[in-house]
């Protein structure tokens, strides 16, 4: 019985005896497998990158925004805070303020928050510290506000003046001491819309008092973990809806509810959808090149079979059974595929490495990739080899021997 060891040696000898042709044949597979490997690897890098990006935006955040004023009050704040799975919540108010430093005045968004906000929104301080619940007229400045907005840089413990226009048209101006400045931001692909860099944070109590309002624009809450975030955010949604007298059947009607709610999980999901679509596109390109590659192998195997007709006759005269001739050619085809697969995997990983470097993506090379590369190429070799090998195996030995 023909052993695998001999089949492989025989195949290698045959491949080696036609080096040029073999390398051109493997090229198709190399490109296909390299494309698959690079795609999967890049896909993995992208999703890790997105996850990091979203992760840096906040710690399992749930954002609740009201669509109309006077929707959320302390009552709702308590409700959110007491929902199981919620580990922190900050009310939010926001208004554009006229900010004066030295003699310059700039219009800057100001947010009223409580001390939970720093943790929930994952705000990294460059200097000083974030707002806490005992604070009075203090402000935390975004990095850009402190260092870019004004001609002169603002430092910790400097004073700024903020002027708000109240709902009745009158203005109110107060002096705030700068308590902290956030870290400079890294360049990011993903904008969450809640970046702290261009904002000023002041205690929510102070802001409500100044504006004379008793409602919140929304809540910024944190769930225990990313795994339970969907359930927790659904629960918050339900409780708020019940509290506001919205029928359960309208829970998913964004137009009827006076607020909207979204969480970090959904943002991740959307990102994954985008990268998934990208992946599908790349994968189809890889798939097409694999098909082309396998047609290349099949073509060359057919040529090989024709070329080696007399050899097949010899083998049969020497006592090789049909299935042994079959396996010999299939093994050869699979070895061609595997060689292409090994090189393709290397090129694919190399390509992904380069792209990661160029785009500043993290290097993620799942080990399965190597198995995928080998498996795909062996499979392609197998599929491409079956028809030519079958043709070889079915040859009549006398006719094959006669062939010159």
């Amino acid at each position: 019985m023909l052993g695998l060891k001999h089949s492989i040696r025989f195949a290698l000898g045959s491949i080696w005896s036609a080096k040029m042709r073999s390398s051109l044949t493997t090229l198709g597979i190399i490109i296909g497998v390299a494309a698959v490997i690079a795609n999967v690897s890049l896909g993995a890098s992208f999703s890790e990158f997105f996850e990091d990006e979203i992760g840096s935006v906040g710690n399992n955040f749930i954002v609740i925004e009201s669509n109309t004023p006077h929707t959320f009050h302390d009552n709702e704040l308590e409700l959110v805070k007491n929902t199981p799975g919620i580990v922190g919540v900050s009310p939010l108010t926001q208004e554009t303020g006229g900010v004066r430093y030295m003699s310059e005045v700039r219009q800057i968004p100001v947010q009223g928050v409580s001390d939970d906000y720093g943790q929930v929104a994952n705000i990294q301080m460059g200097s000083g510290s974030f707002i806490d619940d005992n604070d009075g007229y203090v402000a935390v400045l975004g990095y850009d506000v402190a260092y870019d907005k004004f001609d002169r840089k603002i430092a910790n413990k400097n004073s700024i003046e903020i002027t708000f226009v109240k709902s009745d048209g009158s203005t109110v101006t107060e002096t705030f001491r700068v308590k902290g400045i956030t870290q400079s931001k890294e360049t990011k692909l993903v904008e969450s819309g809640i970046e702290p860099e261009g904002r000023i944070f002041i205690p929510v109590k102070v802001m409500s008092e100044l504006l004379g309002d008793d409602y919140y624009w929304g809540f910024f809450a944190a769930a225990e973990s990313i795994e339970t975030i969907d359930e927790v955010s659904d629960e918050v949604d339900k409780r708020l809806a019940r509290n506001l007298g919205i029928p359960m059947r309208d829970l998913d009607e964004e137009d009827i509810k006076p607020y909207s709610i979204f969480d970090q999980g959904e943002v991740l999901e959307n990102m994954n959808q985008v990268s998934g679509a990208l992946g599908t596109l790349l994968t189809s390109v890889a798939f097409i090149s694999l098909v082309v590659g396998s047609i290349g192998i099949m073509n060359i195997m057919l040529v090989t079979v024709t070329e080696r007709t007399s050899e097949i006759g010899i083998m049969k005269s020497l006592g090789f059974k049909n299935y042994e001739v079959l396996s010999l050619f299939i093994v050869e085809s699979m070895v061609v595929g595997l060689l292409g697969g090994i090189l393709g995997t290397l090129f694919g990983l190399g390509g992904a490495y380069l792209v990661n470097n160029l785009m500043g993506l993290p290097h993620v090379f799942p080990l399965e990739l190597i198995f995928i590369g080998m498996f795909v190429s062996l499979f392609v070799g197998l599929v491409a080899g079956v028809y030519p090998a079958n043709k070889a195996a079915k040859m009549n030995p006398v006719d094959a021997l006669r062939h010159e």
Binding site: L2, G319, Y323
Partner: protein, 242 residues
């Protein structure tokens, strides 16, 4: 010289002699289809070859010698009639089992050597054992020994293209012997060789014969008759009685 025995119809041999019969061909016919035309090549051939015999088959070109040898070697099946090898009725044996029978019991030597060009002499000799290997034989040692025997002990790693015609044929002979077959079938083994190398090759066959090998050899060359125990003449698909 052993008895030249051509016989018609079924053999009437007793049990002792049946054991000694290597080839028993019973009234075989072979025709090829050329388009719709059936062209008969062999017209009812009977042939009995006993163990240890050296039979030469002679006849003009196109008379059907190779066709007959293909039937004996089970490379092809007759259109009609029966080929008995070592007492086995080959009609009832599957193609795969026939291949195995070939691998173990028959050694082929062809006019054009039929070596695999990219394999070395040693690998060519070893090749049949990849498929059919007798457990009691050390194949690798035997391959080296056989090449030594045919005078190629120093040419183990030469490719066929690096060998002369006579040397190639000696590799082919060594290959035919690797599984210690019951029968050697040679189709014009000296057809491509000059007189001197032909003699060398025939000397090898001769000594194999002396060692007890059963050999059936096709030849054009009347010179070769002298090596054989008996000569069978074929003309137009018939065995000529002389």
């Amino acid at each position: 010289m052993m008895v030249i025995r051509l016989y018609e119809g079924n053999s009437q041999l007793n049990d002792d002699t049946v054991m000694d019969v290597v080839i028993d061909i019973q009234n075989i016919r072979k025709s090829y289809l050329l388009g719709d035309m059936e062209v008969p090549i062999l017209h009812g051939i009977n042939l009995l070859v006993k163990k240890g015999e050296f039979v030469a088959i002679m006849g003009p070109s196109g008379s059907g010698k190779s066709t007959l040898m293909n039937m004996i070697g089970c490379l092809d099946r007759p259109t009609d009639g029966n080929v008995m090898l070592m007492g086995k009725d080959t009609r009832s044996i599957s193609d795969n089992d026939l291949a195995e029978l070939r691998g173990f019991e028959i050694g082929f030597v062809f006019q054009n050597f039929n070596l695999i060009p990219r394999l070395s002499a040693y690998e060519n000799v070893l090749l049949p054992t990849y498929s059919n290997s007798k457990v009691n034989l050390d194949n690798e040692e035997r391959a080296r020994d056989l090449l030594e025997t045919v005078g190629l002990g120093d040419r183990l790693d030469h490719k066929p293209t690096e060998l002369s015609g006579g040397q190639r044929q000696r590799v082919a002979i060594a290959r035919s012997l690797i599984n210690d077959p019951s029968l050697i079938l040679a189709d014009e083994p000296t057809g491509n060789l000059d007189t001197k190398t032909s003699t060398e090759v025939m000397d090898i066959f001769s000594s194999l014969h002396k060692g007890g090998c059963t050999i059936v050899m096709i030849t054009h060359d009347p010179e070769m008759e002298k090596y054989a125990d008996r000569v069978v003449h074929i003309r137009d698909g018939y065995i000529e009685n002389n």
